[in-house]
Each structure stands twice: as C-alpha cells, then as structure tokens.
Symmetry: C2
Subunit: 231 residues, 2 copies
DNA sequence: CGCCGCGTTGATGATTATCAACAACTGTGG
DNA sequence: CCACAGTTGTTGATAATCATCAACGCGGCG
C-alpha cells in the first residue's frame, strides 16, 4: 500500500472520522492533503483567515497567542487524533492563535470549503465537529481549573500521570515535547519545572532527559490527593 | 403584551436567535420556558445529564467545578445573550460544571431534545450552536492567556476596561457581581483583589461599593500597555 | 439588638519569577 | 573527527507576587 493509502487508513481510525458514514468519509478523504512539518514550522498564524481544518496524525502542535507587545503565550498542545481550527474554519472566521510544530508532525489538512459543503449534506459531520468543539471546551475548562486551583507540583504530577495511561505499576514514559514547552503549557517557567522535577524525586519520579522513570503510578495518584488535602 | 411575549421579543434580539429563520425560531420559541432564579440557586450540577440549553436573558451565571476534595473553582461567568451548555446538551453528555446564579437571573430554558430535533432539519441552528461553541473556545483561550501571562493588576485593569464599552472619557461603571466572584473569576483571592483596587486609585480608578468611578478610560488602556512593557 | 455575608486592612510566609552562570547535547562546517 | 555555535536544561541567589491568617468595619435583616 502507498504511503498515502496508509495515512488514509490511519485517518479512519481517528475519533473524528470514525463516526462518519463511509461515503462521507470518502468525500472528505478525496480532499485531504497529508502534510509533514518540522520543529518550529508554522501551520497558520493568528489573524489569518482560517482556510483549513487540521487533524494531527503524528506528533504535536502548539497553539499560542501573541500580545501586541510580542509576548507569546502557549495556550494548548494538541496531539494525535485531535482536530485544530475546526470551528473557526467552518465558520469562515480568522485564526485567533498561531500553530507551530513542537517536533516532527504529520497532519491531515482539510479545506474548510469542502468540510462546510459536505457538512450541509451530512449532518453526522456537523455533529462530529460539534463533538470536537465540545471536547475542546471541556479540556480548556480543565486547564483553567488547573491554573487557578493547583500549585506547580500538582500540575506537574497531573501532567506526568496523564502520560502514564492506566497501568498502576512502575514504567518509563517519554516526555512528548521539550521541557520548555511542558513548562509553558503548565503555566510555569522552565526553571520552576526543573525544580519541581527535582522535588518529585522524593515520590518516585526520576527524569532522565526525555525519559520519565516512575516507580509507582498509583502512588503518584495518591500523592496528588495528598497535596490536595493539605490545601 | 404579556410578560412572556415581551421575553420572546427579547429573545429574538439575542445573537443566538437572531440568525435563525422565522419558522425555526418559532419552533424553538414554542418550547422555551422563561425561568427566574435568585442568588445562590443552582441551575444544574456537575455530573447530571444535560437536558437543557440555557440562554441568559438578564443577570449572570457562574460555572464552577468541584474537585473530589470539595474545593470549588470558578471557571467562567456568563451574562446576557450568552448560551450555556449548548454543546453538551445537544450531544447528550453530562454536565462538566455546576451553574449557579450570582444574583437575580432570567434565563430561557430550551429542552435539548427539541433543539436536537430542530437542528436536524434546520442547518442554520447547527451553525448557530457551533458559532456559540466557537466563541466560547475563543473566550476560554483568552482567559488562559490572561491567567498565564498577566499579573493581578493587569487582569483587574482588563476586567474594568471590559466593563467600560468604547467611550474614552470618565464614567461610572457598575460591578456586575460581588467582589468575591470577580476575584475568583480573575484567579485571585478576594484580599488580593481588594489590594489591587487600592493600588489602582493611583491611575484614576475609585471603587465605591458596587460602583467603579473611572477618571479616564483611555488612560487605563495606556496603563495596561505600560505594565505589559515592563514585563 | 445581634448575627451573617461582604469587604478591607495588616502582618507574615510560601510560592514562583528573575537574573545569572554553567553544563549537556545537537547539528554544522572545516 | 573536532571545534563551534546554538539550543536546551540545571542550579544558585535573590526578589516580587500572591496567599494565608486574623481582626475588624459596615450594612442588611430576622
């Protein structure tokens, strides 16, 4: 099978496409362009008209906003299966953020015009887009809760736990992007993240470059609870 | 005209309903219930199945999340014209937040089943819901940017400016909800907000109970810029 | 009146940012 | 293969910001 063929197969597995009828998927698939980016590449910029929806197939994108003074704030990082710009693109609005690759990234680019057209005839697509938007609202609210209510160590712990999946025991997880990006995502300075990692050695977290060795995942979860109670 | 009739007229003015075709509006309007709540009343709770969409007609609702430890975090406050729970309700999911009245509130309650039904036949309604969801994403990203990148005084200033509308000169604005709620919305403790208000007297802001007397709105905007540059 | 919710102010402490130096690693070109 | 620059990450000293704890004023209301 061709590379493009494999990518389409991969697409069909993603939640956004999985709920679509076969013919709806085909119509979208025929308009999809698979694109690759390298670290630091920009997919779109704040203020540009949103012309495409992106679906992350592999790697991570960071969305950030730039203030009039040029200060950059990372809003959120998107990974495999997540859609980016789905609502603005369908509505024909301008991008309110800038999207940049945090490393090598493969995305599917869907022209907004095609999506809007197909959505008119296939209501499941509207629903799929709304589902994505709703998930995003949920995730952003979660991020706000974290920023308002939790200390640096709690945020870092939760982030590490989110990397671990469901297995309770010891494991080694790979940090998905640079520590600078992790820090910005968590609303911390890089130095603060570094110190937090150092403190967490006491609860069985050992960070070795890009690898996080965790002695006891269940123990970490207990530690988050403990920190919550103190507050 | 009856009270209900006046309320329906008011509804038609709100952005969410304004884009709908007349017959679509009628179908929704016939299912609308206008409800009033008093300060502290709960409209829905985190974890409940979302059965209705709410549109704020008058007053303010605060959405908050409660951690397993019982700690409450205010996520966002919604005012006139804003829709609440539109995406979760249409998708039939559970509420991820609790909604409480910050004071006397009038809302329109739309049964999710009716909205979902009508949306199937009137694509403009799907679009209106997506528009609302998109606006919410934008607003939440804005809140995240504020939390990550700005100090207490900057957030308070921005909040005050948001109350002022476009007039540049001196004016008196009414604080829309208690200072405790304002503080929680801005991610501050009440004491910190109080001290920030005190500091801002130096730039022409005088808080007198629920009234904010502002000497020079344009000056405030300049002050925000100045604080940004220092950072 | 006395209580309660709301808000202010003061003293103190914890958390996080800032500034600065340096170590480790990556890719590049000679 | 090595020197080099550039990026990434660590650590230390210090400072700023914000939270916490506590006391108290003010106003409304049973």
């Amino acid at each position: 099978m061709s590379t493009a063929g494999r990518s389409l197969e991969a697409l069909k597995m993603l939640p956004f496409f999985a709920t679509l009828r076969a013919d709806t998927f085909e119509r979208l698939a025929s308009a999809v362009r698979i694109e690759r980016f390298r670290k630091g590449d920009t997919l779109f910029r704040q203020g540009e008209k949103a012309a495409s929806i992106f679906v992350v197939i592999e790697g991570f994108l960071k969305l950030s906003r730039v203030s009039p003074q040029g200060e950059e704030t990372l809003i959120r990082i998107f990974g495999r299966g997540e859609t980016v710009a789905e609502s603005v693109a369908v509505l024909g609005d301008d991008h309110t953020t800038t999207a940049e690759a945090t490393g090598p990234v493969t995305v599917a680019r869907l022209p907004a015009s095609v999506v809007a057209q197909v959505a008119r005839e296939a209501p499941e697509l509207s629903l799929a887009i709304l589902t994505e938007a709703s998930a995003k609202i949920w995730a952003l609210m979660d991020e706000i809760e974290t920023l308002k209510a939790q200390t640096a160590d709690q945020r870092v712990l939760r982030f590490l736990i989110s990397l671990c999946g469901s297995s309770p025991g010891p494991l080694t997880a790979r940090l998905p992007y640079t520590k600078g990006d992790i820090a910005a995502y968590l609303g911390l300075k890089q130095e603060t993240l570094s110190r937090s990692f150092a403190r967490l050695k006491g609860v069985g977290v050992d960070i070795d470059g890009r690898d996080a060795h965790i002695t006891d995942v269940a123990g970490l979860k207990a530690e988050v609870e403990r920190l919550n109670r103190i507050v």
